[in-house]
Symmetry: C2
Subunit: 276 residues, 2 copies
């Protein structure tokens, strides 16, 4: 870790009584930064505010948090910044909150060695060997991440870049650390936010980039069965960007011409957001 | 909080890089202690070890942890002790673990003002207004507790002692902080561990007490519909013990003669365990 701050002050620890530790009672954002600028910062702050509203946690002041993130963005040419907001310290023992908690605001920074424009070999993926539990709070990026931890461990053990998860009904909920896009019937599709573990900031950027490029794109239920018949797959998050899938199990996918068009549109949008 | 220790040393904080905070990547036990003795300690340590195995976290040495819990038990006449074991500090950024983590062992103690033999008014309960997501890791007492947090908040808002949760199939998974027992057809029943958020230590004590008292008892799927027709309901955890339910929504339940028989058998078992 390059540096960390709690409530804006340099720190290396948090209180043992924090509800983030005891219950995962909080939210987080993982933000990429390049050249001293946090990418898609507005989208991250907006999602964090939505998550805070969903958990009835008072959202941190957006301007204050933006300054703290920007300070972290200046630490290296490329930085990954994690913002954590927990409900704060336990006011009394037990799960329920009292309403008198004061949120804990954490900003951590790591070097982002590959940066946003890394050329990556196509992703090796596979379907998870077991159905995933349907998300407790679909789309919300909260601190209850054991589903992601176990999925990412499965990917590591199987020598894959990512595992793709389906719920017990056979509907795709995404990858362990990514959202999934499918290209089929001349349309780009991604699972409904109501099915996703997290509704990713890069997922929204891809949908916007598709629209700006004049491509058909939609959110819909996607079954595990239809992945084999798709023309192309991509996995997305703010760190890996739009990453083409080269294989899912035994099925391989050829490079697709829309990949570079969408990647270019996403970078265009990142530059415009930074300039705004 | 009366006191807390990390890795056996007095402490009030943990590292910002702990995976317990970032992902809820860890386990916990809530242990009651009276007269300087931790109640049902063997059962707690065994469940913790099972949870560690499920998450591939090296379990702490049981004798060491037992000494640390017993030290905390001596702080007041009645103490609630929480043991948290996380996978440890992030070795690299991201969900997957490397295997080189060293677990963080936390012991916290709070005064247990009411103690184990509190006389309580019958519990006021209600069915949760929304289906609960099926547990990610049924029965395992891990740090991803937002389901419990939201359920307990609903109880508080509705002025109830507890809400009873059913999964989308209509099967009871337990209360927000308790396991549920149902008495019907001369048999005591509780949901299968495979459906429970947590397979409680008190739940196991009640099943054992029922057996020792010669009552019929079983674990089975229990639907929300059948609760209204039950002769009696109880909710259980190590803090509240075997707590008779006085009402579930509009349905009321009369005091049941088996309550005191089971409570007595549980206390007998606690004394024998302490003497062993």
């Amino acid at each position: 870790m390059l540096a960390a701050w709690v409530q804006g002050e340099p720190a290396s620890s948090i209180g043992l009584d924090d509800r983030g530790l005891h219950y995962g009672d909080g939210l987080f954002e993982t933000i990429g930064a390049s050249g001293g600028r946090a990418r898609f910062l507005g989208a991250h702050l907006a999602r964090l505010a939505r998550g805070c509203a969903a958990l009835s946690i008072p959202a941190p002041d957006a301007a204050l948090l933006a300054r703290e993130v920007t300070r972290a963005a200046g630490l290296a040419p490329h930085v990954i910044i994690k913002v954590i907001v927990t409900r704060g310290a336990l006011q009394e023992r037990g799960y329920a909150w009292t309403g008198s908690e004061s949120p804990t605001r954490i900003v951590c920074a790591w070097p982002w060695s590959e940066g946003p424009l890394a050329m990556r070999a196509p992703a090796r993926t596979g379907l998870a060997t077991r159905p995933a539990a349907p998300p407790l709070l679909p789309g919300i990026k909260h601190l209850n991440c054991l589903g992601q931890v176990l999925a990412r461990q499965e990917a590591r053990q199987r020598g894959l870049d990512e595992v793709i998860l389906a719920d017990p009904e056979g509907c795709i909920i995404g990858g362990g650390m990514t959202n999934l896009f499918v290209y089929t019937g001349d349309t780009l599709a991604t699972p409904l936010a109501a099915r996703c573990m997290v509704a990713g900031v890069m997922r929204a950027q891809v949908l916007a980039a598709a629209e700006s490029a004049g491509f058909r794109a939609c959110e819909r239920a996607i079954t595990a069965q239809e992945l084999a018949g798709a023309e192309a797959l991509w996995i997305t998050n703010v760190r890996v960007g739009l990453w083409p899938v080269g294989g899912l199990g035994q099925r391989t996918y050829a490079a697709h011409p829309r990949t570079s068009i969408l990647q270019h549109a996403i970078e265009q949008s990142a530059c415009e957001a930074a300039g705004a």
